[in-house]
Symmetry: none
Subunit: 190 residues, 4 copies
DNA sequence: GATGAATGAGTCTTCATTCAT
DNA sequence: AATGAATGAAGACTCATTCAT
């Protein structure tokens, strides 16, 4: 992210820059998606990355692929979170809320390209990490027995969208309210 | 809707056609919004309505105003639903799900123009009808005491978005799953 | 002008309203031309006059004809000014500056339609009243002998344009500066 | 100008063509502004230059910037004229009259964007070159002592406008008449 | 004659995508 | 493989003009 300060036009450094450019593009895309959503112009991302438009297309022929690359990073984080011995779904929700805009952009991307292999791969990772948390939640009695991975997946998507769509000033309040509704629904009743 | 078969360019039928055109535009917009969302090109709506672009702008200078007009119809329906003596939140949810795409478009519109009076007016109607159902729900013990109008409003928004974004074939399943999660959250716990 | 307050939509009063509408249109046009110049949309004038667009076209098929009608009023004033026994060119300039925007709009119209009879008629009236002032100026020794009507006509046009084009806050200063340059040129030297 | 024959759609010649396109756009703009004034459609300029609309916008995001580029060339000429050891204001007026249409377009542009830095820069150059001629004029006794740069600037603007607005066939006569009025005003009176 | 809606062409502007270097 | 300019197709919006009532 340090590299991605906008407007710093790079020289043509040839093939050597390939890996570096890729990183810069992903970082720039994450920023742009956070600010403007998935519908942001492609050119803005290239500009922010300080990379030619052509290079953007070479690395990521479609916006979906770029979104996948961005979210691949994010999901690394999520997996990291989920791997902690005492991690709960709440921790996952915390992360999702913190990255709401990017998450929402990803939800958009998924909606637009459910059939792209890379998208499915990411979906699988997501389901899998959710699965682990669900299992643990059930084990500790923090989660109702009839709540499955797919339910949580849906909740994550709704949470991301809702928070992302709220005006900046109300994000926190909306997140709290939504999570409250969800939690009560997810908690075992008794 | 009967009149709005696309592509049939109308003659200038004079001012008498004004009201009819307005209706055609609203109907066309509802269709288009349902198919393409709020971001659909204005021109597509005019075309679908069989009306010149200028007429569209005359009737609805901004997309928000058009969205409001569309939703004003929908909210009529919702109010009708809510007025039934034994109406429940579930009935409301049924309607929202049935009109998911349009509802989602409206959520977008509201997000984009919270400060437009017409939007606020609609928002107020929505809150008000939800309020009635909430009160009734509490009275009949179908709703937890700590669930308020704003919570339900949020749920409606999430429900609409989620169902609207799901691929056509999965809408019903998604709706069922989402409502299940929500319901358990909204039901009083014993 | 009292009648022309914008937005007051009139009922269809039929033919009886003809003369009145004509007046309202002229007054509205003067206002609009003053505010936005000759390029102002036709519709703005009809709206300001509280008259249907169709009526505007009926009375004034072209913008030129409307401009002529507007200026015909103004030239009445100018002729009135010029008829005063002790009137000077400076009095004319005062009037032109005071009506700079409208005058400039008229200059535009003339430039665009030198061959329209109505325009020529107005031009003749203008030349004629200037002629009177020139003669008187020469007689009183206030004007150089080699300055003719056409020179003054040109000066009037330039004065109007210049003042009209200046930002509102600088009109007076510009008018003063321009008149100073012109005056020294027009005054006899010796 | 040789390259700018209208309608010959070019291939994408890559970045190498950038400078050439820029030139073509400026030349085309000068022509178009001369023919139709500053209000000419942007698309006409792109077409005349044989360049895509997008390229026009890339090079000149606003019409003002394009006008500035056009006039920057013209002012080069004017500065060249003014630098001649024996140059007079009359030489400047000659140039202004010769480029009347473009000059008038520039006056429009300045009026429309007094606050744009590039415009101010050009204005400063103009004032400065006028200043040199004013100083020289005073020194040689060809100019009245109380005539300053601003007066001459105003005269230039009026001259440009007036000549530009005159029908082609009368330009010369109008220029002569206007300059005569101005000159007598600018000359020292004995 | 008046009315005011309808029409559609014309401009502006933004992007996704391609391509020469 | 990188660059960044070129392209042109949309889409938004505004008006001049026409026309049924």
């Amino acid at each position: 992210m340090a590299e991605s300060s906008e407007g710093v036009s790079r020289r043509n450094r040839g093939p050597a820059a390939a890996a570096e450019n890729r990183r810069a593009l992903i970082d720039a895309a994450r920023e742009i998606f956070s600010e403007q959503g998935l519908a942001a112009p492609f050119s803005a991302i290239a500009r922010r990355a300080g990379v030619g438009q052509g290079s953007l297309y070479r690395h990521f022929p479609t916006k979906i692929e770029l979104a996948v690359a961005v979210f691949e990073d994010n999901i690394d984080d999520l997996e990291h979170v989920a791997r902690a011995a005492d991690a709960t779904l709440d921790d996952l929700f915390d992360s999702v809320v913190a990255q709401a805009k990017v998450s929402a952009a990803f939800v958009d991307a998924v909606a637009a390209a459910r059939d792209v292999p890379a998208v499915q791969r990411i979906g699988a990772r997501m389901i899998s990490l959710i699965g682990a948390l669900v299992d643990r939640g059930r084990a500790t009695g923090a989660l109702a027995d009839d709540i499955g991975r797919d339910d949580v997946m849906l909740v994550v998507a709704m949470l991301a969208r809702t928070v992302a769509d709220a005006p900046a000033g109300e994000r926190e309040a909306v997140a709290r309210r939504a999570r409250s509704v969800f939690s009560l629904g997810l908690m075992p009743r008794g």
